[in-house]
């Protein structure tokens, strides 16, 4: 009995008061959250993000996000894929395993173009998918935003705008008032 208690004790001590991740305002319309995002940015908040069931056009600009560097990553993937396969075919058919077929040239590069193209597409697609997931930090099974009330509807019909507690301007009372003034249906605090 006593032993069990001592085992449990450190676990209980580790339970700390959850810290605040931010304040989240709930909207039911894409246009409403777009307008709210613009006002939030104009008010000087920087640590902000929106969570929406559809990709809202223009929301990334309204939130002040920079353009993603993903296209460069994909270009790099495509170039590596194309150069890699072309190089492999050349090395194999010219140096490593040359086969003389009726005296035709060994470096028959036009015949390597179809696979070069396929190699480019393959690695560019890998770069697109894994680059997108990697830059997004996915997979991430847990995120504080999942603690937000009604957040299960963020993949259906509700839109959330969150100002994170790490924002230099964040002050719980003032920020809450500000979010309420944007016409949110509900403002809730989100815990880590």
């Amino acid at each position: 009995m006593l032993r069990r208690n001592t085992q449990k004790a450190p676990k209980a001590a580790r339970v700390v008061q959850p810290t605040l991740y931010g304040l989240s305002a709930q909207f039911d319309d894409a246009d409403a959250i777009l307008a709210a995002a613009e006002k939030t940015r104009a008010a000087g908040y920087t640590q902000i993000d929106a969570y929406t069931p559809i990709p809202v056009h223009g929301l990334d600009e309204a939130l002040g996000f920079r353009r993603t560097r993903l296209p460069w990553l994909i270009l790099l993937g495509g170039l590596i894929g194309a150069a890699g396969i072309f190089g492999l075919a050349t090395w194999v058919n010219v140096f490593e395993y040359p086969i003389n077929i009726g005296g035709r040239p060994l470096f028959s590069w036009p015949a390597f173009i179809p696979i070069t193209f396929e190699g480019m597409v393959l690695l560019a697609a890998f770069a697109a998918v894994f680059g997108m997931l990697g830059l997004n930090g996915l997979p991430m099974p847990y995120h504080p935003m999942f603690n937000t009330p009604n957040f299960e509807r963020a993949t259906n019909d509700l839109f959330f705008l969150t100002i994170e507690a790490s924002d230099p301007q964040f002050e719980i009372g003032k920020t809450r008032q500000f979010l309420e003034s944007l016409g949110a249906q509900q403002v809730s605090s989100v815990e880590n």
Binding site: Y51, P53, L63, I85, I99, A125, A128
Partner: protein
């Protein structure tokens, strides 16, 4: 939803891509609940279809087991017709797959909203058709356990593949196509799996979808990269799909055989692929739409447009048939000329004329709007096109091989029971995968339909403002 009530008569939507009064919640619920409904309450078509498909899959596995133990001698192939059902069905299946990529990628680049409701199912069709297709070249090698020799790898054999051969290009094209299709499909699924996670009641179902969704939370930053990735993937898939069937046509056209050595092959193969792929999409969507009551999401307008695409691609294919005859004449080659005679009046002439009737004559009905709006008729025409496109590959593969340059090397080809068993069995594989897909994953892209709802509402609001504005001026 499952309450006992009189089924209301379905009002068909003919002019728009969404039924009346659709909101985010109705479309999400409608599509997600097909997956989250308990298995006992699923429409009757699903269990019956699944059992039939599973029987087909067993036949497939059995014929493959016989093939691996006995060898390719169980098929009807022999010299001179060394390519039979294996290659016919390979080309046929991969052609079917191409419509899925066309719908998901090319129509995305062209910003066609009508792809939204049908792209997911079409992409799934692509992947399963490519799986069925990809197995054929692997098993037709005779010793499929040595298929890894096709891949370039440094081994103790010291051998490398011949990169100048179209057959080696095939390995790269088909495997790249399968990989990119699966990636594109999965990326499209991520936000929808998150929707399933958030709607699931059962904790284990929730966890399973939660894992598969990778923790997607719809962040605006994520959507930004997501949209860029999707757009670029579509841009990559578009030339990819054209390259895949072009490379498959090189398997034939790079050779010297009469009827194969034709420059028109790449575009003609791609058009034929799109043609029978769209026919397959229609064949799949008509029953699914009925079983699961998706009338508000897949409207008559969709079928109308798919009919038009089939008509257009069918005309390109018909032009290809014409070109083959013209080339034979214009080449002034006796062997080419003889091939056309063999096709039209030779021992296999019935298959050529079946191809012309099924692929060229019957689809001309699609010129008429009432035909495109008549689902039973559209189903019938699509079936004709699928059979017709199969005959096209039969004509190309068998008829060119069975009579080439020397009459002493002429021969015949008759498919055996095992040819048919492997072919019918491959439908089992296809439909088992497809039936599992419609039960386990959303068969319509939910977030894209929500986006369509958003756009439709915005347009309606604009129309209203415009109308009241004009009324005010007057």
């Amino acid at each position: 939803m499952q309450s006992q009530r009189v089924k209301p008569a379905v009002v068909e939507t003919t002019e728009t891509f969404l039924g009346p009064k659709q909101t985010y919640d109705t479309v999400t619920g409608k599509i997600a609940d097909i997956v989250l409904t308990p298995i006992r309450k699923t429409p009757w078509g699903w269990p019956i279809g699944f059992v039939l498909a599973a029987l087909g899959l067993m036949l497939y596995l059995y014929s493959l087991a016989v093939l691996f133990t006995v060898g390719v001698g169980i098929w009807g192939i022999n010299v001179p017709v060394a390519w039979g059902f294996d290659i016919i069905n390979f080309v046929w299946w991969i052609g079917i797959g191409h419509a899925g990529t066309l719908i998901s990628a090319i129509l995305l680049l062209f910003r066609q909203d009508w792809r939204t409701s049908i792209n997911r199912a079409a992409e799934a069709m692509t992947i399963f058709a490519v799986a069925c297709a990809g197995i054929y070249p692997l098993i037709h090698t005779g010793r499929p356990w040595l298929d890894y020799w096709l891949l370039p790898y440094p081994g103790t054999l010291g051998m490398w593949p011949q990169f100048r051969s179209p057959l080696e290009w095939d390995v790269f094209a088909v495997s790249t196509y399968a990989t990119v299709s699966i990636l594109f499909w999965f990326v499209g699924l991520i936000p929808d799996i998150a929707t399933l996670r958030d709607r699931a009641q059962n904790i284990w179902v929730k966890r399973a979808y939660g894992l598969a969704s990778l923790g997607w939370r719809g962040s605006a930053k994520h959507w930004q990269r997501y949209e860029v990735a999707t757009l670029i993937l579509a841009g990559l898939s578009t030339p990819l799909v054209l390259s895949v069937h072009s490379i498959i046509s090189f398997d034939f056209s790079v050779s010297q055989l009469p009827g194969w050595h034709v420059t028109v092959f790449p575009p003609y193969f791609v058009a034929g692929a799109v043609y029978c792929g769209f026919a397959m999409v229609i064949l799949l969507l008509i029953p699914i739409r009925r079983w699961f009551g998706l009338h508000n999401l897949i409207t008559m307008k969709h079928f109308d447009l798919m009919g038009k695409v089939m008509l257009a691609s069918g005309l390109i294919v018909a032009y290809g048939y014409f070109c083959e005859i013209f080339f034979a004449w214009y080449s002034a080659s006796l062997f080419e000329y003889q091939l056309i005679l063999t096709r039209t009046i030779g021992p296999y002439a019935w298959s050529y004329w079946a191809l012309i009737i099924l692929n060229v004559a019957i689809p001309q009905l699609l010129w008429f709007k009432p035909v495109r709006y008549n689902l039973p008729l559209l189903f019938f025409i699509s079936l004709c096109i699928n059979v017709g496109m199969w005959f096209e590959r039969w004509v190309i593969v068998v008829l060119s091989l069975h009579r080439d340059f020397l009459p002493s090397s002429w021969g015949f080809y008759t498919p055996t029971f095992w040819d048919w068993a492997t072919y019918i069995g491959s439908f089992g594989l296809f439909f088992v995968l497809f039936f599992l897909f419609i039960r386990l994953l959303p068969m319509i892209a939910i977030f894209e339909v929500r986006d369509l709802v958003h756009k439709t509402h915005a347009e309606e609001a604009h129309a209203k403002i415009g109308a009241s504005g004009r009324a005010g001026e007057a």
